[in-house]
């Protein structure tokens, strides 16, 4: 039988997935992969790419739609079923047993036996060696997984999938944990696999990697597919436009900022993550009263770590941070809030809300101990109700009543609840981390307007956003993070264009230390 190069090995048609919390992570997505190609699946966090791949690997079941593998309609009820159809997945966080050896991990669940009951370790090692050689994936079969470097762990994961007969490999952000050298090595191995007629689905949002290694790409945004493209015939600009969605025309009216005293002072922050990757490398900047300082950058360049340090979610290796002269690094969240710092967290479902509590309960979580909400030991329910009704009204939260559960709201309204709480505590500093990601246009516009209003009223705002449009339109001045360092500082954002920004964000250009140093407004 003749095999065509563009045989479709995987086809997903009209996939819709509604999670038990009511979030429609995929809405009528079509996705297909040809035999023997490296196919990128791109999109921002929350665009629905992981959900789509989980369904292909049998971890989740689609609410609607069909999956066709090699021309045959299948129902993938579990990873076992997916593996039986030749699909393997390498998760971003490795699924390995650290106390076992590489060979033991590889044969786990399909252990070669001796005389029917004893584990044949020798055979396991031989098997590992054989596959490692065949696919050019060098691993040490007798090393303990706990002792091997991250790059090798990933190879073990890939081998695990291959040895189970996977012909289609899903790699979930495989380079997120790798160093540059390890990434280059991984890419050589992937090309080698491709030459042997294996199909690879590569989840990523790093433009340069995609350009370097993939044949075609599918872009997702907001749970929908934005189309399939030949990698060679699409520019990075087009990709980024499709990914982050620049079709929302912003009309944020803002007058000139008049920054005064420094509120947040950050000096020489350093942080190395658990995979020994330096995520922050000497970051220093100031945010002044009355200005919005934006932090732009491709995701994973230290933004998350920076916010985590400032809100006591992680401890830096070195460096200082202070608000109006009081140290932030060693303060608890309660104390940080006491200093007048508010945070709109990136992960709103984890930090921003208690999902099965009511809207009212979510609105008072930072102020319920204040005198005005308590009558001796009892809550002053009247005051609490007045407060929550006022916030619901001021922030136009669409809901039936204040006692509706927060998880029943749409994403935009959930974010409005978070923002209502964080913006209304009369903060000296607001840290807004991806404040409008994944929410509807109306709510986005509303939140952006509120941010500008607050800054003009004298609040210092630190805006972290992967949405270029947002960070450029809203910020008064702006820094670009690349590889854990500040790559550029723009004092005035009105003269910026995306292309120049892109060059700094993708690490093609870097300003001089002197130019960058201007972000520290020392007297």
């Amino acid at each position: 039988m003749e095999q065509h190069q563009n045989d479709l090995v995987v086809e997903m048609r009209g996939i819709t997935k509604v999670y038990p919390n009511g979030i429609a992570a995929n809405q009528g997505v079509d996705f297909s992969v040809r035999r023997g190609e490296i196919h990128a699946l791109m999109g921002e966090n929350g665009a629905g790419k992981s959900t789509l791949m989980k369904m292909l690997f049998g971890l989740e079941q689609p609410t609607e739609g069909e999956i066709i593998i090699k021309g045959e309609k299948v129902s993938l009820s579990s990873p076992t079923a997916a593996i039986a159809h030749g699909i393997g997945m390498v998760h971003q966080h490795f699924m390995l047993v650290p106390s076992l050896t590489v060979a033991e991990n590889i044969v786990l669940g399909m252990v070669p036996k001796k005389s029917g009951m004893f584990i044949d370790f020798k055979k396991a090692i031989e098997l590992t060696k054989e596959f490692a050689e065949r696919f050019n994936l060098a691993v040490n079969p007798i090393a303990k997984v706990a002792d091997i470097p991250v790059g090798m762990k990933q190879k073990v994961e890939i081998l695990k999938a291959l040895i189970r007969g996977a012909k289609i490999l899903i790699l979930d952000e495989p380079t997120a944990v790798l160093t540059t050298q390890e990434t280059a090595e991984l890419f050589r191995e992937l090309v080698h696999l491709k030459e042997q007629d294996y199909t690879i689905i590569f989840i990523s949002h790093k433009l340069n990697e995609i350009k370097q290694i993939t044949d075609r790409l599918t872009i997702m945004r907001g749970g929908k597919s934005m189309g399939v493209y030949e990698t060679a015939s699409i520019t990075e600009q087009e990709i980024s436009r499709l990914m982050v969605g620049r079709d929302v025309i912003l009309d944020v009216q803002k007058n000139q900022a008049v920054p005064t005293d420094v509120v947040l002072r950050v000096r020489n922050l350093e942080y190395t993550n658990e995979w020994n990757k330096k995520m922050l490398d000497g970051v220093s900047f100031d945010v002044r009263k009355g200005e919005i300082l934006g932090i732009a950058g491709v995701e994973g360049n230290g933004q998350r770590e920076l916010v985590d340090m400032l809100f006591d979610l992680k401890e830096p290796d070195a460096g200082t941070a202070s608000v109006n002269g009081t140290d932030l690094i060693n303060a608890s969240q309660a104390k940080i809030r006491g200093l007048g710092v508010s945070l709109v967290p990136e992960d709103r479902m984890t930090y921003g809300i208690a999902d099965s509590a009511t809207i009212e309960e979510n609105l008072i979580s930072d102020r319920f101990e204040e005198k005005r909400f308590n009558n001796g030991p009892l809550f002053n329910m009247k005051a609490i109700r007045r407060e929550s009704d006022k916030l619901i009204q001021d922030y136009t939260v669409l809901c039936k009543s204040r006692s509706q559960k927060v998880k029943m709201l749409s994403g935009g309204n959930i974010q409005k609840v978070v923002v209502a709480r964080e913006f209304s505590s009369d903060p000296a500093l607001i840290i807004a981390d991806q404040p409008t990601r994944g929410i509807d246009v109306g709510a986005t516009e509303f939140i952006r307007k509120k941010l500008v209003d607050l800054s003009r009223a004298g609040t210092a705002v630190l805006l972290v956003s992967a949405d270029l449009n947002e960070v450029m339109e809203l910020s008064d001045s702006l820094i670009v993070l690349y590889g854990g360092k500040i790559a550029a500082y723009f004092e005035d954002t009105s003269q910026l264009d995306d292309e120049m920004m892109g060059e700094y964000m993708l690490g093609l250009k870097r300003q001089s230390d002197e130019e960058i140093g201007r972000v520290c407004h020392e007297r």
Partner: protein
């Protein structure tokens, strides 16, 4: 509309779980009994309605017995509600009931007072001891990260054997054939509410008062609020600036106090001496009750009534028919299973969710279209 539909779903799910559990029980009754219908009659209506010949009459004493049985389990049920609300799976209520009952009895024997305050003091001592014992798993959890489930479970046996040690070697009344303490003073006893030697004591009223107190605590105070928020999402609570560690300890201490009170009241109300030689089981029942009540204090009396009713029915069945009294355990376990199983009827729930989300998406699309024009 949407919320009401989800609430309706929870009700349907609860009712279905109970019915299914009773169904499972019925199967076992039919398997083990020669007269299954009579047995079933005793189980379902026997506790409140006695049938002599063809005359059915309401059994007032039966009602008193059931209400009396609810006294300790309301307290342990409330205790578990508070602890589970902060997501602490603390099971030490069982041992604390026994320890609390023991110190209350000792206070009744060795402290002499004239007025009705005697019983109050005895119960207070039990309450304080309960709170102190609960500090052990709570502090181990907060300071060292030890699983409260494991430590509290083990603690039950520590409580039991410490009590048995002191009962056997220090406080036993040697003039009696079985191991028990001396009788406590009449001033320490909690009197019966109704005539006829029933065990339905004023402790029942106290239990109901505590239901209201704990409901207020959980839904109308800053401490209860923090306990519930931490239970729903600890990361959120910490980020909001709450004192997570202290609140986790507090919820377990409250649980210990309630269990201690339950043990004290039960011993002083039902007996004249302390004679438990093994864990009384009220703590475990409290877990079932809290699960049935979905951690809502106001539903605890209902759940406690249900369990006491079933308990009584099973006893009748075991006494008058050929069904073993262990049947209650089977039915309880089945309820437990259906209630605790998050996935039970989840397919039906998912259908509701999908429907709601569809409606929302359609509405949003409509709104967007309207806005674009």
């Amino acid at each position: 509309m949407k919320d009401r539909r989800m609430f309706g779903f929870e009700l349907v799910r609860g009712a279905a779980a109970i019915l299914l559990a009773l169904g499972v029980g019925t199967i076992f009754i039919f398997l083990s009994s020669d007269e299954p219908l009579t047995a079933l009659r005793y189980l379902l209506i026997g506790p409140l309605i006695s049938i002599k010949g063809s005359v059915a009459s309401f059994n007032t004493q039966g009602l008193y017995t059931i209400l009396a049985a609810m006294i300790p389990t309301i307290f342990t049920g409330l205790a578990v509600c508070v602890m589970f609300s902060s997501n602490q799976f603390n099971l030490a209520g069982e041992g604390i009931v026994m320890a609390g009952g023991f110190v209350a009895a000792l206070a009744g024997i060795y402290i002499h007072m004239n007025t009705g305050w005697h019983a109050v003091i005895c119960v207070l001592i039990a309450a304080v001891l309960g709170g102190i014992i609960m500090l052990v798993p709570a502090l181990l959890k907060v300071k060292l990260g030890a699983s409260e489930m494991v430590t509290s479970l083990m603690l039950n046996y520590v409580c039991m054997y410490v009590v048995l040690h002191f009962l056997n070697y220090n406080f036993a009344d040697r003039s009696k054939g079985s191991t028990q303490t001396y009788p406590f003073d009449p001033t320490a006893q909690i009197g019966s509410m109704v005539p006829g030697g029933s065990k339905l004591t004023w402790g029942f009223v106290i239990a109901l008062v505590f239901v209201v107190i704990i409901a207020l605590l959980m839904y109308r105070t800053r401490w209860g609020y923090a306990i519930r928020m931490i239970g729903i999402n600890q990361a959120f609570s910490k980020y909001s600036g709450m004192k997570v560690g202290g609140t986790i300890v507090l919820s377990q201490v409250i649980g210990g106090v309630l269990s201690g009170i339950g043990g004290g009241i039960e011993v002083l109300g039902r007996y004249t001496t302390f004679l438990w030689k093994e864990l009384p089981g009220y703590g475990w029942t409290g877990v079932t009750i809290a699960i049935l009540a979905k951690n809502n204090p106001l539903l605890v009396p209902l759940a406690a009534f249900f369990i006491a009713y079933l308990d009584k029915g099973c006893q009748l069945m075991a006494t008058y028919c050929d069904v073993p009294s262990e049947m209650i355990d089977i039915i309880q376990a089945a309820i437990f299973l259906f209630f605790a199983a998050e996935q039970f009827l989840s397919g039906y729930r998912q259908k509701i969710v999908v429907k709601n989300t569809r409606a929302d998406l359609a509405k949003a699309a409509q709104a967007a279209e309207g806005g674009a024009e």
